[in-house]
Structure formats: C-alpha cells, structure tokens
Assembly symmetry: C2
Homo-oligomer: 117 residues x 2
DNA sequence: AGGTTACTTAACCAAAGAGTTAAAATGAGA
DNA sequence: TCTCATTTTAACTCTTTGGTTAAGTAACCT
C-alpha cells in the first residue's frame, strides 16, 4: 500500500543509515572497490553490497567495472538536490537571508564605515 | 539487532517520507494545529499524529499547547545539521569553492570588464 | 578447461515503519 | 458533571529494511 518512492525520498532514506553515510564519507576521498569499502565494517560482504545498491538506486553513487572489481564513486546530483531542497528552509536558521545577501550587506557596511555609530 | 539510531539518521529518516516533508513545507508558512496539518492528506488523524511524533523525535518540529490544540512549529536545528553535514560534499557539485568565493570572483570579473576577449 | 578473486543474487528472518480502527486522555464550556 | 473538540495511545496488519548464509556469476590466470 506504500507509494512508489520519489527521488528525494529515496535519497533521504539512503542517507538515514550510518553505514551508508560512512561509505559516502570514504568515497569522498576517492573511488574505491567494494571489498575496500566493506573492510571497516563488522558485517558481511553481501550486506555492504546491498547498501551500495541502495546508494546507487538513490543516485548517490555510480559504479563502473575494472577487471573483477566494481569501483564506486560519488555521484553529486542527489546530494545537490538535497541541498536545493534545504533552500526552502535556510531562512529558519540563517538570521539573515542567504549567503550572497549577507555578503552584500557586509559589502555595504564596508563601503560606508562613516555610518557606524 | 539494529543500532540505536543517532541524531542525523533520525533526521534523514524523518525527511525520507513525502507526507512529512509536506508537513514541514506547511509549517514553513507558520505554526498550525494538528487537524489543520492533517487536512490536505488522505489519511487518518492518528497517522498524521504519528508522522508528527517522528518529526518531533528527529528534532524537526516542536509542539506547544493552546487549549485542546497542540500547535506545531519548525525547529531549525535539525535542518541546520543536515546542511552542515552536506558541507563535507559541497565540493562535488560546486565547481568552485563556496558561494562567497563565487561572489568574489564575479566581483573581480565585474571590476575588470576591459579584460574580456 | 579449471581455479581464484571479486562481487551479486537468492532465500530466509527479525525488527521497524506506515497505515488502519477503536478507545482513552485532555481541556473548554454549558 | 456531562459533553464536545482535539489529539494521542493501543492493538493490529502488511510491507520494507537490514542483516544472515549459501549459491551463482563474471573476469582474470595458468
């Protein structure tokens, strides 16, 4: 009875697991193989393989082939979409509007130092 | 056998449901009651109540009391932590460094229009 | 071909998630 | 106090998820 999961939901769901976030963190340092990715974890290789499939279906990683190895790398688009989704809410924790606006204000302030009280 | 869910995992998990993201979107327009939040959805009130509990436990919303009503509002911290987590990966989709840097470059470009080919 | 390395798929299980209806709590008002 | 309005809790179902082990596939090596 569950809705066919949309893209954003799949991405958030993939990121909701600490093992998968750790895998992404490792991949941030560069492309690597499944067994290398699995090495730090206290779980079977098939378990890691499943995590990779989840990350792949969420668009967070991509895999190629190199001999027997299936090297994985980060695919930025999904993360970028999370970031863009967050734009709807930045106003709630950034006292002022956005980073460019803040910069513009700082710029104005810097241009008129005589206006300081 | 599942690990006791850490904060970030709970937040991502909460955001992985479209109903809950829709609730957040509604709350971005202002504090409101449970029944008002439930109104657009084709599901029972207890279902919405559960979603709100998930959002609350993830630190994404907070609730107060006003007569029988339990108005909800967005709690920015959890979203902010997602944004900070994303900082680890921004380099992957921002060709240049960060927004301020980009602005500085545009600024330099604007200051030297004579350099255009 | 046969063996080895590197993964993936299949079959299974326990636990968590998202929904339901029915019943309980909580607060306001007659 | 009795009743209404608002929301939560309880009990139940069904599906999904995250792990397991065992078997299968794929590419390379001799």
């Amino acid at each position: 009875m569950r809705m066919d999961t949309d893209e954003l939901s799949a991405t958030f769901a993939a990121l909701s697991d600490p093992t998968r976030r750790a895998i992404l963190a490792r991949l941030a340092m560069g492309e690597t193989s499944v067994s290398e990715l699995a090495e730090p974890f206290d779980m079977s290789l098939p378990a890691v393989s499943k995590h990779l499939k989840v990350l792949e279906r969420a668009g967070l990683i991509a895999r190629s082939r190199k001999a027997q190895s299936r090297p994985c790398r980060i695919e930025p688009n999904a993360l970028k979409e999370i970031d863009e989704w967050l734009n709807l809410y930045r106003g709630f924790w950034e006292q002022s509007l956005d980073c460019l606006d803040t910069y513009l204000k700082e710029l104005q302030a810097a241009e008129k130092p005589r206006d300081e009280a």
